[in-house]
């Protein structure tokens, strides 16, 4: 969207980047204040029901999916919006991560990946899944409720969650830096899980 303007410059690291690089403020992206806190309780309607339920180990009779129902100790949650270009880039990387997890005996039943479309519509996410061939379950946070509970983080952001007793799910790691290599993400997850 340029509206005819020819000299448009985008500062991709944004205001947070400015504060960090120029004003030398490091206490910025307070996303990390969610670390160690509990992930908001939420229920989702599945878009690809059979596939999602099978992957997540959910009883087929369940109408909705709660994170606590997912059959793994850890859940890797990618929070995105389909209009965010950086999110799209990372979705492709998470597709690779999913494939790796599925083929690795250590990770396969220990961690599951899901995506949550913040502010996305059911229809928008369905199209998005199909267009980008996303192999893992993606759910919808239509009214930005989960996004707001998480402190409105810059997108994309990913959370590694650990299930605790009593239906609580703790945020044990947050990734809000752009992914340079999926190997880094794997290493990070591996170091926490094992």
């Amino acid at each position: 969207m340029r509206l005819g303007y020819k000299n448009v410059y985008r500062m991709p690291t944004g205001f947070f980047g400015w504060k960090k690089d120029i004003l030398k403020h490091d206490d910025l992206v307070n996303n990390d204040q969610m670390l160690g806190k509990y992930f908001p309780e939420c229920q989702f309607v599945s878009i690809n029901r059979t596939q999602d339920y099978l992957y997540l180990g959910i009883d087929q009779s369940a109408r909705k999916i709660r994170l606590t129902d997912i059959r793994s100790q850890f859940i890797y949650v990618s929070l995105f919006n389909e209009m965010c270009s950086q999110c799209v880039e990372e979705i492709k990387q998470y597709g690779l991560l999913y494939k790796f997890f599925q083929h690795d005996a250590k990770f396969k039943n220990t961690v599951k990946i899901i995506g949550i479309g913040a502010g996305s519509s059911h229809r928008g996410v369905k199209k998005f899944i199909k267009h980008h061939n996303i192999p893992y379950p993606v759910f919808v946070d239509k009214n930005w409720d989960i996004f707001k509970c998480l402190g409105e983080p810059p997108l994309p952001v990913a959370y590694l969650l650990k299930k605790e007793s009593g239906s609580k799910i703790k945020i044990v790691s947050i990734r809000n830096e752009h992914i340079e290599s999926i190997a880094d993400v794997l290493k990070e997850i591996g170091s926490i899980i094992y």
Partner: protein, 124 residues
């Protein structure tokens, strides 16, 4: 004695080489992401600017309009010097409403050659 000195110099040189490799690796790692951003910028018809180069615009008193597209409450808390707020939501990216279009045009003015610096919260 000479041997000890020789070994010390060797260790020091090895250390310096390793430091340079690590630093270079860091730079390469940073530029991978930047390259991807540059590709997107090229496809979408705008330029990228680093924080350091944007800082130089301010220091050299260059003529430009800074646009902060974050929500108004974030803008009001703090923003770049002389930046104006045109709040965009992610849905605006593909389809901009007429009202938003008018607001944007009113803020930027009619001169299409004006230099515009646009920024959001972070890399989203």
């Amino acid at each position: 004695m000479f041997r000890i000195l020789q070994n010390s110099i060797l260790i020091l040189l090895t250390g310096l080489v390793l430091i340079n490799v690590v630093m270079a690796e860091g730079n390469i790692t940073k530029s991978k992401w930047w390259s991807r951003m540059e590709q997107e910028a090229k496809q979408s018809g705008y330029h990228l600017i680093s924080t350091q180069d944007a800082q130089k615009w301010y220091e050299h008193h260059e003529t430009f309009i800074a646009i902060d597209v974050r929500p108004d409450y974030e803008y009001e808390e703090e923003h770049l010097l002389k930046a104006l707020n045109v709040e965009f939501d992610l849905g605006t990216r593909n389809k901009i409403s007429q009202k938003k279009k008018k607001q944007f045009l009113k803020t930027l003015g009619e001169d299409k050659s004006v230099k515009i610096l646009i920024y959001c919260r972070s890399h989203s």
